[in-house]
Symmetry: C2
Subunit: 288 residues, 2 copies
């Protein structure tokens, strides 16, 4: 089992994006120092999150770390160009001595779709088609490909080549069975985001993933499954709960307003923190 | 006057792209240490050059430098998305404490056009239209824009915002009067690549640039003009000339083969090195 941290690099009130980016590099350095396995950075295109180019920010972190793996969490592949994504992360892989990973997702936030001219009606086809090309690019340095939503490639060379062969590509899902089955069929490692509700309801999804992997001719036991969940740890459990309450519920209420969720108060927060909940907040032994 | 280095990160025979990328970070660190003003990285999409994502490689350098400015040299803007370019360099600007610059060019190497689905017939229109959008993006964080070769933006937000306002954008030219005049009209700093022939023939271009700047309502005296030229310096001038001869002519012959140039031998090399030539090779006082 591996453990790491992922962040969306949310900007605190009054903080500049530049200050947040500098903090981020310090966080990557500390995560490496204390021995975490992976550091992930999400992609957003809004003023309240500092990272729209995960590979650029991770490259700064590569220079301050020596062991930790560096990943997007996630790359919104549907609204990006797989060729640029592959090049960015192959470059990061070279700079970091083979520590880069791509976590590809369809996107939970959707602001990137109008920004890059994609239609939300194509939400799934965009992802499927771009994932297919991304996987071709890591398979060979000369690629011939055609499909929707991206100009065709005719024996095109894509460089630099990564150190790792293949460059790791994870599929990140929010709970859509179709996405889980696709990851299994393709034999790609799966990352599940659990940001509400009971983690138990995700067990059937993991079963579905392993069945799909077998159907795709892959050994389910060899495929990694990960979970991303909101977390906050302090020496004392009650202190952790109190310290995290305000910033967490303010964030969830703010984002929830855009999505039609009710505001989050202490009862909902405490329920999420309970043993069956999705929030890993407490003392180290509680969270573990 | 400022002085710096720019490189295309050419990969030596037998070297991996990853090794070249690591060397590059050491070169950025050394350039900062010895007090150069700027370090530039070119964008290529071929196995003999290691950098297709200048901003990613520069971000690693940002972490190892404290004073030097970091720029693309050049970003092939015609085949890229100005929104991604702006985001990448705004991120670099935040990471580096306001040391990022973009040098935008139409591209001397053209392999990026088929790779990203652009038509070489649109060579100039692509650049003009994408430059217009790039300049809009640095002017405001909410942009409404429409034009050819890129989906329209309707009051779209583009983040993170850079530290520098405005983020420096240079225009890099190879000698096309039209490109020089555009840079002047827009009031953008001009970088001229001199990779052959006599530097004197570029003087009329600088005159044209300054006239165009005046026509555009800009003060020509306030606009920077730079020159990029191949250079190699050693303690002793003859040693510099001998050491640089083989790698330089091998490279120029190899690239020249693709472009129909004749192979380069010692006479042509020595002519380029002469006082009126375009090659800055020699002892420090000769080159200065």
């Amino acid at each position: 089992m591996e453990i790491g941290v992922a962040t969306f690099a949310d900007v605190a009130p009054g903080q500049t994006a530049a200050a947040r980016l500098r903090d981020l590099v310090e966080e990557m350095s500390l995560a490496d120092e204390v021995g975490l396995d992976v550091f992930g950075l999400g992609e957003h295109h809004r003023p309240d999150f500092a990272v729209s180019s995960p590979a650029v920010a991770l490259a700064a972190g590569a220079e301050r770390t020596s062991r930790i793996r560096l990943t997007s969490a996630v790359t919104v592949l549907s609204s990006d160009d797989p060729v640029r994504v592959f090049q960015d992360f192959a470059t990061l892989d070279g700079l970091s001595g083979g520590r880069a990973e791509i976590m590809a997702g369809r996107g939970s936030f959707t602001e990137s779709f109008p920004l890059f001219g994609q239609d939300l009606d194509d939400y799934d086809e965009l992802f499927a088609s771009k994932l297919e090309l991304l996987l071709e690019l890591r398979r060979s340095d000369r690629v011939t490909w055609s499909g929707p939503h991206r100009p065709p490639l005719d024996d095109a060379g894509v460089y630099p080549r990564p150190v790792q062969d293949p460059l790791p590509v994870w599929i990140a899902v929010g709970g859509t069975p179709q996405s889980v089955a696709r990851a299994g069929l393709l034999g790609l490692p799966l990352m599940i985001a659990i940001i509400g509700g009971s983690p138990e309801r995700f067990v059937p999804l993991v079963d579905l993933y392993r069945q799909a992997a077998e159907r795709g001719g892959h050994d389910p036991a060899a495929l990694a499954v990960g979970v991303n969940t909101h977390a906050y740890v302090a020496d004392d459990g009650a202190r952790a709960a109190d310290e995290f309450f305000e910033p967490y519920t303010a964030m969830m209420t703010r984002i929830g307003r855009e999505r039609g969720w009710p505001p989050m108060g202490r009862p909902q927060y405490d329920a999420l923190r309970s043993a069956r909940g999705a929030l890993a907040v407490g003392a180290p032994e509680e969270v573990a």
